[in-house]
């Protein structure tokens, strides 16, 4: 059984796999490929046009010149190699008479969106093009943005059949050598593992499974990638994943985006300060409410103590329970608004925000003040940069809440210490999470 039959055996049952016999400059050939990747008719036209350019009069070596001119002759054709070419969307031409394969680049169909504005990160002043699913486009965007001869890309096929492509991008002269070395080593030793999602990629890179802070900083913007490369970080692109993954992700990535620097420097720092305040508000406020209401009311001024007492009259549950109750509803609203189609979103906001909020107060289930507290919490949970970071913050809030309910303000402070200690304990490839990375080799600092 020769190679062609083996390939046809393996892929033949796919409905979009085609075998097409035809004559190309009097040579009988067999075209193999997936019609979902290419437009077949145009590819065949192109093939004929290229073949016609080869002068058929000279008989000697006509076949080899023909093969040369239409594509790349596959040396030492193995079944696996050809299958992988086919799966990547190439058209493979088998010359029956000499049993040789030629790899032809067909008219491919566009299977990606065009470059568009980012979906998860809004840019107010700065470059708006965002990454798309197609990896080549993404690499192109980065090359265009970085415009540097030191930019290196390194491609790996991962997975049991080495089909899933990931690309490492770094600046040759700026990258932190240990970082690059360890990432390459990890990828090479785990090359057989699947990477269909970030959990699997994180397993490939050997990150701890149960960490509550992400080790990848994801971004849709080439501008952010450029800055990360400048700082000596390594960027990973995953095929069909419209985000660049920046390793390592640091604490500063929670508060700073490169786009801040498109504003005056005063506002850069003020907005970053605002984000820090937002994160602190989100983490502390629910716990503060519970501890002040049930454990340390003596810390309040008497007027506010009385106001809270008045607003809590007839509220049946202890403050921890009422806080958890409303927080749960808020988390549900969060989750639901991600799931819902865009057209139904506003309805949910209205029901959740206005109707539920009003009803829950007049039904005396929770106190007025708690509504304010939770509104502040919800709003501030979105000031942090990146949705992946806001998830961590949302989780930490509960640690503080529980500790506050147990120990009051003392527990709140202890919880902050625990969170700080946890962050300080994290590191990726030897770079501590709380490290502040300076831009390297930047002429204007």
């Amino acid at each position: 059984m020769d190679v062609v039959d083996k390939i046809i055996n393996r892929l033949g049952q796919d409905s979009d796999f085609f075998r097409y016999k035809m004559m190309l400059s009097n040579e009988p050939v067999l075209l193999l490929g997936y019609q979902s990747f290419m437009s077949v008719a145009e590819s065949i036209n192109e093939l004929h046009a290229q073949a016609a350019r080869v002068n058929p009069s000279e008989h000697d070596g006509h076949r080899s010149r023909l093969m040369d001119s239409i594509g790349q002759i596959i040396e030492d054709p193995s079944e696996d190699l050809i299958v992988s070419l086919l799966l990547r969307g190439q058209l493979v031409i088998w010359f029956e008479s000499v049993d040789a394969f030629v790899d032809f680049h067909p008219y491919s169909k566009v299977l990606s969106r065009s470059i568009d504005a980012p979906v998860t990160e809004n840019v107010l002043r700065g470059s708006i093009s965002a990454f798309v699913e197609d990896m080549e486009t993404n690499i192109g965007l980065i090359r265009k943005q970085a415009a540097s001869e030191d930019l290196r890309t390194q491609s790996y096929g991962l997975g049991p059949d080495r089909q899933k492509q990931i690309v490492l991008i770094y600046m040759q002269n700026l990258v932190i050598p240990n970082l690059l070395e360890s990432i390459v080593k990890r990828i090479e030793s785990n090359i057989g593992m699947n990477v269909q999602n970030l959990q699997q990629l994180s397993a490939v890179l050997g990150f701890s499974k149960w960490s509550t802070i992400t080790k990848f900083n994801t971004t849709e913007l080439p501008q952010e990638v450029e800055r990360a490369l400048q700082k000596g970080k390594v960027v990973i692109l995953l095929d069909r994943f419209p985000f660049a993954l920046i390793v390592p992700s640091l604490l500063t990535d929670m508060f700073a985006v490169e786009n801040d620097r498109n504003f005056l420097i005063v506002f850069t720092y003020l907005t970053r300060l605002l984000r820090i305040l937002g994160v602190l508000t989100n983490i502390i406020i629910p716990g503060l409410y519970v501890s002040l209401v049930s454990i340390n009311p003596d810390m309040l001024r008497i007027e506010i103590a009385l106001t809270i007492a008045r607003s809590r009259m007839d509220v049946p549950y202890p403050s921890l329970v009422e806080t958890l109750l409303l927080l749960l509803i808020l988390e549900l609203i969060f989750e639901a608004s991600i799931r819902l189609p865009r057209s139904i979103g506003p309805t949910l906001t209205m029901v959740g925000g206005i109707i539920l909020g009003q009803a829950v107060v007049s039904a005396k289930l929770v106190s007025n003040l708690l509504i304010i507290v939770l509104a502040a919490t919800t709003i501030s949970s979105s000031t942090v940069v990146g949705f992946h970071n806001s998830l961590s913050i949302r989780l930490f809030k509960y640690l503080i809440l529980v500790l506050s309910a147990l120990f009051g303000l003392y527990g709140l402070v202890a919880g902050m210490v625990v969170i700080c200690a946890y962050m300080a304990s994290l590191n990726s490839f030897g770079i501590p999470y709380v490290h502040i990375m300076k831009s390297r080799g930047d002429a204007n600092g």
Binding site: V293, I295, D298, I302, A305, L306, R310, R312, A405, L406
Partner: protein, 359 residues
Amino acid sequence: MSIIGLRVLPVIGITAILLTLTGCWDNKDINHRSLPIVMGISKLDDHYHIVLQIPEPSQQQGTEFRLVKASGATINEIVDRIGANMETQMDLLHLKVILIDKAYAESGLNDAISAFLRSHDISPKTMAVICDEPIDQFFDNIQQYSKNNGTLIQDFFRANAGWSPQVATSRIWELFRSIHSYTRDEAIPIIKSGKGTIVETRGSAIIRNGKMVGRMTPDETLMTNIFSGMDVKGKIEVMNSATVQIVNNRITNRSSIVDGRPLIKSKITLSVALLEKKGQPTQDEIKKELQLTLTERFNHVLTMMKEEEADILGLGQLFRNKLSRDELQKWRTNYLPNLKAEIHFEVFIENEGDLKMDA
């Protein structure tokens, strides 16, 4: 045991300890606590009589308050008894003012003050105030006047609310300190219920070793506040010529022992703003008048201190490094009456107001 077991078990253990040993189930929410803000104490024949003013949050606007009265042998016992009868938990942490009956203050406060400091329930920052009329009467009058303001007595003494520089401030920890210190006594404010205004200030009481031994007028209280370096913005009427407001005051003291007699030289620098004047006094006249008035007032306070042997200005503090501990012990009796004070007031008229001096 597996690695996971080694990691998970301590976490489970800590969580179990957290949940079982904290005692958090004893915490009561704020709406299940009574937060009295004023406590009135009087003593009759070895029996304390206590009135608590407890704000009551109500669904209507404002805060009403209720008065709870009880008598008994010790303060804590009475409070406990009141708490047992209330539908909420008694929580004295928000107590802001302790109102002491004058007769009780004259007989000595030592037991009550040490009881307050001994028990955790009351903040040492609570103000001590003397009431110039029977406690029950005071509270009854107050209740008539103010239905909706549960915090008015507290506001009267709060620096960022109704406090004025003619009113002495004294916390119970300061009273406690004065009881046990050789060289410092306290002045505490005296109030009674007023007509028109709800509370009326009646000067301050001189407390010596926990006993009320004399009283000062509001003007003299302002003097002591200036001397203790408080940032007072008080207004002083200069006899016959003007009224000024103190905008800044600074004091430097130097102390020495001369021939066994304590000598204190103080320089008090006052920046004042002119508010009102009578006739056409010159700046120098106003300054001189002011110096004279203040020196007179100060000397009067000093004379009173010497008579009562009560060091409300804390002058003895300045001699702590000059006298031995045994000598300090006799500060009030042997040294204070012989104190020689040279006080110099330096006055700057910083501001003539929006009009020229001779306008």
